[in-house]
């Protein structure tokens, strides 16, 4: 990918390693991604594939035993890892904010929601007067369709959907250019989940911020995203516009597994299959392609070397079997 200054987020050859008791665990391995303003990037994979670690790296919030060993992460052309701790703290929330799976964890249980809202402004916008702050909070709540009367409530008094709306309102409070959403709807019922997704899209169209949307549910992600990256064992194994995951036939075997594991409501009956085997051991990685022990299409080449992302249709796939099939087709 070439130098592009319009990108909101640029991740270049990023690797993150955890120090664990068992040894070094590379959780993110040479990931390169770019996100333009107003786009929603879906990041999909099973637990332990490195998607949340990548999100933490983007926020500059890696846990103490993890470190960025290689690469560069820039938000709006500002390299996060050159900033001092105070500068980073100011940068977070103003330029890049985050919505987590459980708003019950992020909201303080003993302070009313409204007070927590005000705090954002007293810390980041000390010049704003209180009436101005209150007017702004009301605007934000209107945007996520929460009645301002709920500002007096404590987090536990709100329903799951309302809490997530409040979390979204807080994330957009300072008009950041980028919002990381880590499984924001996983804990919600189907109906409320769809509501929140529609809400995110509606607000995103008004405010034009970019989103990195993390989930293990490929169907949900293809509903909301403009482009999707599939991660396995810390690497991106497939990348492309969201439509390709619903329309195009050729996928990485892991992507295919994810697609086949979702029950559909088309036709009368259907079959679902899970991806066989278990997630990879990061401390003792297998040789070659990390997915080969679980892959139905694996052959000798997959054990010898790790495949690189190559262009396939409208996207990119890192798979020797897909490469081989493409070559066969090209030769007739």
């Amino acid at each position: 990918m070439n130098e592009n200054h319009s990108a909101i987020l640029s991740i270049e050859h990023v690797s993150v390693v955890y120090e664990t008791e068992a040894g070094l665990a590379p959780a993110v391995n040479d990931v390169t991604l770019e996100l333009e303003p107003g786009k929603i990037l879906g990041l999909v994979g099973e637990s332990g594939c490195g998607k949340s670690t990548l999100a933490q790296a983007i926020m500059g919030l890696l846990p103490p035993n993890a470190s960025l060993v290689e690469g560069r992460i820039a938000v709006q052309d500002c390299d996060l890892y050159t900033l001092s701790e105070p500068a980073l703290r100011a940068f977070r929330w103003k330029n890049v904010s985050m919505v987590f799976q459980s708003a019950l964890v992020t909201l303080n249980p003993v302070i009313p929601v409204g007070k927590q809202f005000e705090e954002i402004f007293t810390i980041h916008r000390p010049a704003m007067s209180r009436p101005e702050v209150l007017r702004r909070i009301e605007e934000l709540l209107n945007l996520v369709r929460i009645h301002p009367q709920h500002l007096r409530n404590f987090a536990h008094e709100l329903s799951g959907g309302m809490r997530q709306r409040v979390a979204i309102a807080m994330a957009i409070a300072l008009d950041p250019a980028l919002i990381i959403m880590d499984e924001p709807t996983t804990a919600l019922d189907a109906v409320v989940q769809q509501e929140i997704l529609d809400e995110i899209r509606r607000i995103q169209e008004i405010k034009r911020f970019a989103v990195v949307f993390i989930s293990h549910d490929l169907r949900l992600v293809s509903y909301i995203s403009s482009e999707i990256a599939i991660m396995y064992a810390g690497k991106i194994v497939e990348f492309g516009p969201a439509e390709r995951f619903l329309s195009e036939a050729r996928h990485h075997p892991y992507t295919q597994g994810l697609l086949d594991s979702i029950p559909h409501l088309e036709g009368e009956r259907f079959s679902i299959h899970s991806v066989p085997g278990s997630p990879p051991d990061l401390v003792n990685p297998v040789s070659g392609c990390a997915f080969h022990p679980r892959c139905f299409a694996a052959y000798e080449a997959c054990l010898a070397a790790a495949p690189q992302l190559k262009r396939v249709g409208s996207g990119q796939i890192a798979c020797f079997d897909v490469e081989r099939k493409q070559k066969e087709e090209a030769h007739g």
Binding site: E46, A190, Q194, I272
Partner: protein
């Protein structure tokens, strides 16, 4: 279909909770006049959202929550009010597994230690506990069994932990397994395995299963019959293979639309569709879905519709539907 033998039947079940709000106390009915039956070897899906009462219904069926009205029957025996000793007997026939696989296993016991005790308790004297454990581990796909036996819960994946919980429930050799959201904490890619395991257990052990979930597609996938629950009431019951084509209750329609990420036909006026618990109040007399229903009329907020037959093996509780089927009948 041949009429299968009835295993569990509930008649007009009511569960009541007391709720305190400030200084006021309310009575709510998370399970409100529910009648249902589970045939042996049948998988019944109970579908509804948080607060619909589905978990409370499951716990009532499992004898973990007391029933204030109505009666529960297991193989023709009244099990509505059991003392502690009778409950122990009941739990040999009815077992439950839970959503939270992280907290339902003892963290300091290995898989073998967790499982030997319940197997020992329920095995006949001639049975070898070791052989029974081996069989159950094989049956639930916890292989290689030798390695799995020695592991502690935190060394297992989420899917494996749910399998261990299933083995523990099976140790009692129950006739009925109540599974409350058994897959919703697992990755999408692992859910299929556990659902298929439940189907496999039904086929091989003759087990009946009550599968409780908020995920309609998975219930359609695994169940024979689906009960849709809202606000403590059953709103529609239908064969799973007919649900996609023939379901007609507005709430079932809404669940189908959400599962397909379709926008609701006519969105309700105010912002959120989140359920309000006020429809659970004992004092509320209308249809529980009326505050959210796009086709609600006057009568819906004052009179609760009863569950009536609207098709073959197909019941719904909706004033609009019973009115239209009556009109057709004339």
């Amino acid at each position: 279909m041949v009429e299968a033998e009835e295993l569990l039947r509930g008649d007009n079940l009511v569960v009541q909770f007391r709720q305190t709000q400030g200084f006021r106390r309310h009575l709510i009915y998370p399970v409100n006049q529910i009648s249902l039956a589970v045939a042996s070897n049948e998988i019944v899906g109970i579908v509804g959202e948080s607060g619909s009462g589905k978990t409370t219904l499951g716990r009532a069926l499992a004898g973990m929550t007391s029933i204030v009205q109505g009666s529960l029957w297991l193989k023709g025996r009244n099990v509505s009010r059991l003392n502690r000793k009778e409950l122990r007997k009941y739990w040999e026939q009815v077992q439950m597994i839970f959503q939270d696989v992280y907290n339902s296993l003892n963290p300091i016991y290995t898989v073998e230690q967790q499982l030997s005790v319940p197997i020992q308790r329920h095995a006949s004297p001639t049975q070898s506990v070791q052989r029974e454990l081996e069989n159950l581990l094989q049956l639930t796909g916890l292989t290689p069994t030798a390695a799995v036996r020695a592991r502690l819960p935190h060394e297992l994946s989420g899917g494996q932990r749910q399998r261990v919980a299933i083995v523990r429930a099976l140790a009692a050799q129950p006739d009925l397994l109540i599974a409350d959201e058994p897959v919703s904490m697992l990755d999408v890619s692992l859910r299929a395995e556990i659902l298929q395991l439940l189907g496999h257990l039904r086929d091989n052990l003759g087990l009946a299963i009550v599968y409780i979930t908020h995920d309609l597609p998975s219930a359609v996938y695994i169940a024979d019959r689906i009960l849709v629950m809202y606000g403590g009431c059953l709103v529609e019951t239908i064969r799973a293979d007919a649900l996609i084509q023939e379901s007609r209750h507005p709430y079932t329609e809404r669940l189908l639309a959400a599962a397909r990420f379709e926008k609701p036909a006519s969105p309700p006026g105010s912002g959120s569709e989140s359920a309000t618990s006020s429809v659970l109040l004992a004092s509320y007399k209308g249809c529980p879905y009326a505050p959210r229903c796009p086709i609600a009329s006057q009568i819906c907020s004052t009179t609760r519709p009863s569950l009536v037959q609207i098709g073959h093996n197909h019941l719904a509780a909706c004033h609009a539907l019973s009115a239209s089927s009556e009109a057709q009948g004339r």
